[in-house]
Structures are given as C-alpha cells and as structure tokens.
C-alpha cells in the first residue's frame, strides 16, 4: 500500500534527515515506527502525507505520489500530527465542516468515539484542554473511513483511561483494507496494537520486521539470575533481578518487550544482523 524506494530527504543543504529509505507497508497492518529524537520519524509521516516532497527516490501511497496531493489520495489519508490545530468552533460544527470531504466518513463511529472519550458535540474546541482536543482529532481520524491512518505520538497528552479508549477504538477500526502507521516514544502505550515494527537509526532504516517474526527469534524474560552468556543479547537490572533480551531457541514465539528491544538496538544495532537475518 505504501512503497518507498531509495527515498532521501534533507532540509536545504543540511545533513540528510532521511537517507535512502526502502521499504513497503501493506494494508491490514499496524506499523509502529520507533527511533530516537530527531531521527526523522515525523519527517517520514510528512513525506507519506505529501506535506514534504522527497529530494530523491520514490514514494507511492495507494498508487499515488503524495507530493501532488490529489483529492483521491487525500480522501484516503488522515494524519494526526503532534503539532495539530483545530479551529475555534464547536466539536459538532467541526464534524459538519470537515466530514463532507471524506466519502466514507462514519457518523456513528464519530459519536461513539466522542462518547468513549467523554467529549460532548456542543463543547467549544477553544475551551478544551490539549488532551481533549487531541481526543476530538483522534475521534475524527478513527471515523474518517480513510484507508491510511497516520498517527504521530497518538497517546501524547492523553490521560491513562483515554489511552485505553484509544487502543480499544483503534483496535475496532483495524481491518484488511486499512493501514495504520504509528510513530511513538511510548512503546508500551501501543505495543499490543502493532503487528509490524520499523526502527530508524541515524536517519536510516535499521529494522523492518513483523512482531511475530521477531518473537520467534528473540524473547524477553525477567529472572533473578543472568541467563547463560550464549543466548543473552541484552540485559538491564530491574527490582526483581534482570530484564533480559534472549535469543529465542525454543522454536515458538515467546513474549517480547519492544521497549527493551529498542533499547538493546540503540546500544548494539548489530543484533539485527546477528540474530534477525
């Protein structure tokens, strides 16, 4: 559904923000994009959404080149940015104004999501807190009927119960025709929703794999003692002993803590070559 090949991006003459990326994202998946600050996650979403144009290489989203921002493309893409803005109107009016642009907009899903988040349609957007406004935008995204949903730090600003609500609502919207892309620093917030993982490092693609494949090759355990050197990839101390990333030799999927994997890869990226390929 999204095909990226040899794509690079840089601002003016500076260092590349994204360097020679090549990967595909398929419909039916929930992709998590992880990476350190400033590694280009948001830039990648902007390139997918047609808000930035690649300096070289190709990107195709559902058969469209995003940079032309054609209506057929935009009708299928909804982007929830970190730095979002909503007009100073009532929540219900917002829907009346913007929903007609999305042919598959689902009013039922919209009111259901608002209700779940505890937002009333007659509330004024300008009177809402950041988190509440985010809930309005997330509700709209989930009801938009768009086949490609882009979320930049979707759980930022949400209180703890609302994170549950968001996961529940998104889970209900995932289907075979849809693609959701989530960038986040709060891996635990969305880990259970992901089925594909993309890790960026130093402006390049470090890893793309399905969670299932990863879990077949590596697993996490918490144990009181350090496991044998041979299978141990990374460990950190926790109150109960050690939180360890191990080579999975048991032939079946084990539990996998994505945050631990991410930390391990920041320190020793060679794990990818040694264990996953």
């Amino acid at each position: 559904m999204i095909a990226i090949s040899g794509m690079s991006f840089r601002y003016k003459s500076r260092q590349p923000v994204l360097d020679n990326l090549t990967f595909n994202m398929e419909a039916g998946g929930v992709y998590g994009i992880l990476g350190a600050n400033g590694v280009g996650k948001t830039t990648l979403l902007h390139l997918i959404g047609g808000l930035l144009f690649p300096k070289s290489g190709q990107i195709s989203v559902d058969g469209h080149a995003p940079r032309y921002r054609s209506p057929a493309f935009l009708e299928q893409v909804f982007y929830v940015p970190v730095d979002f803005d909503l007009p100073s109107i009532k929540v219900g009016v917002y829907q009346k104004r913007y929903a007609p642009f999305y042919p598959k907009f689902n009013p039922e899903a919209w009111s259901n999501a608002l209700q779940t988040f505890g937002i009333q349609p007659d509330m004024r957007l300008q009177a809402l807190s950041f988190g509440q406004r985010k809930k309005v935008l997330l509700s709209f995204a989930l009801a938009s009927g768009c086949r490609i949903l882009l979320f930049d730090e979707p759980t930022d600003g949400l209180d703890i119960p609302s994170k549950d609500s968001f996961r529940r609502l998104l889970s209900a919207q995932i289907d075979e025709q849809r693609l959701a892309v989530i960038t986040t620093h709060h891996v635990h917030d969305v880990a259970m929703l992901l089925d594909q993982l993309i890790i960026l490092q130093e402006h390049r693609l470090l890893l793309q794999a399905s969670i299932a494949d990863l879990a077949e090759n590596i697993r996490t355990v918490t144990s009181t003692q350090l496991p044998p050197e041979k299978s141990l990839l990374y460990s950190e101390r926790v109150p109960g002993g050690y939180h360890c990333l191990l080579r999975n030799t048991e032939g079946q999927e084990g539990p996998l803590d994505l945050e631990l994997l991410f930390k391990a890869l920041q320190i020793s990226p060679e794990i990818v070559q040694n264990t996953l390929r």
Binding site: H46, G49, G50, L51, L52, F53, R69, S70, P71, A72, L74, E75, V77, F78, Y79, P81, D83, F84, D85, L86, P87, R97, Y98, P100, F101, Y102
Partner: protein, 256 residues
Amino acid sequence: MKNAFNFQRFLRVLRLSWQTQPVLPYIVLVAGIPIMYLILSMEARSPFVTLRSDNPFLVFNAYFWICGWLYAGLIYSELEKTGTATRYLMIPASNLERWLAKSLLAVLVFPLITWLTFNLAFKGFEILSLRWFAFRYPAIDWLSGDMFISFFIFYLTLPAAYASGLTWKRFGILKGFIFVFVLFIILYQFIQAGYEQFPYDSGWGVLLQEVNLPFLEKNSNAATQTNVNLFWLLAAYVPSLLMLASTYFFIREKEI
C-alpha cells in the same frame, strides 16, 4: 487530470474557505464605519471645508483599499503555522480548487462585501443626520472615470497583497506594501530618467512623458492614448495577473 477539478468539491472547498477566512479584515471593515462617520460629521460642521464634494470618494478609496489589501494579504495566513497549514493542505481537494476558492474570495467576494458595507454605512449616516448638520455630499457616481481609476488601481495592487501574504511568513502584507512602494519609486525614477534621455518627438519620449501620470490628464492624441493604455496593460496588469497565477504554483509546491 479529471481529478483536478470537480465542481461539487470546489463548492465544498469554497464554503470551507469562507468559513475559515481571516476575521481581522471584517473587524477593520466594521471599525471603519464609526471612523468614517466621525470624519465626515466633523467635516460637515467645519466651515473650512474645501474638498467637501470629494470626500466620500476619498473615504471610499481609503476604506476599499485598506480592507482589500488586508484581506488579500491575510487570506493564506493559515499557511504560516505548521498546525494550520497541515490541516489546510490535508483537506481532500485539488490545488486548483484550493487556489480558485481563495482567489474568488479575495478578488470578488470580499471587495463586493466592502462595497456593500460602505453603501449601507452611508445610508445609515443619512438616517443619522442630525438637525444642526446634515450630509450634503453628493452621492458617488460609481460609473465615473475617477471610480474606474480607483477600481483599476485596486485590482492592480490586489494580487501583490495576495502574493506577498503567501511569500513572506511574518508581516507578509506589510512587507508586500513596502516592496510595491519601493518598486513604484524605482519605476518612477526609471521613467523620469528615460524621459530626459529620449528626444521629445520620438515615440518613446512621448510615451514616457504621457505614462508619467496615467489617467489624470486626457491625452489629446488618440494614438498616444492607445500606447499609454497598452503600456499600462502590459507593464502593470500582465505582471499583476502573473502574480495572481503564481500563487497557484506556490500552493502546489508548498511544504510545511
């Protein structure tokens, strides 16, 4: 390119552009009414007024131009900030539709509203005329040559405001105003210099001399008048229209 324009979608974008248009020009539009009233009523009571019959015309021009410039300069203000720009650029519509909607509002709809507001305000002033003074100004002749010049210059400079609002992120209209002003001075100097260089009886000499103050004096020579008109058409309106058209490419190539 059947995707580029769809009339229904265009109406949706037009409606949204109308709903999200800048409000500041409308505030100035309304705030201008008591100011006009004050100026005109003070003048009406003053015994030293000389330009009395010209005043409504001058007031209209100031009102029309200031509000028009402000509106055209602010119409793309949502592109200044990342958040609003993202919202605007992600709306499912083509670049052509976006551009047409904004242009229609700035070039036709808002000027019309300004014109109507001005006329309504004057009707109101007439009703409000008090016993010890009354507005004795003659009504503006909307079909007069002066009016024609006024609208001519308004539409000449409007695209500059429109384009400068897009080109400069901060204080776009102010920078645009300065830009046009400086350009005008340079052009004026250039024409002056050219006027002294060319012999008076050469074609260029005549043209440069006549062009110096367009419209204000009727040329006796019909051929010269045609040349002058042609000069203004090509030297002023064509760049101005190009400027307006170039904003389309600006939106198309806009990145956040």
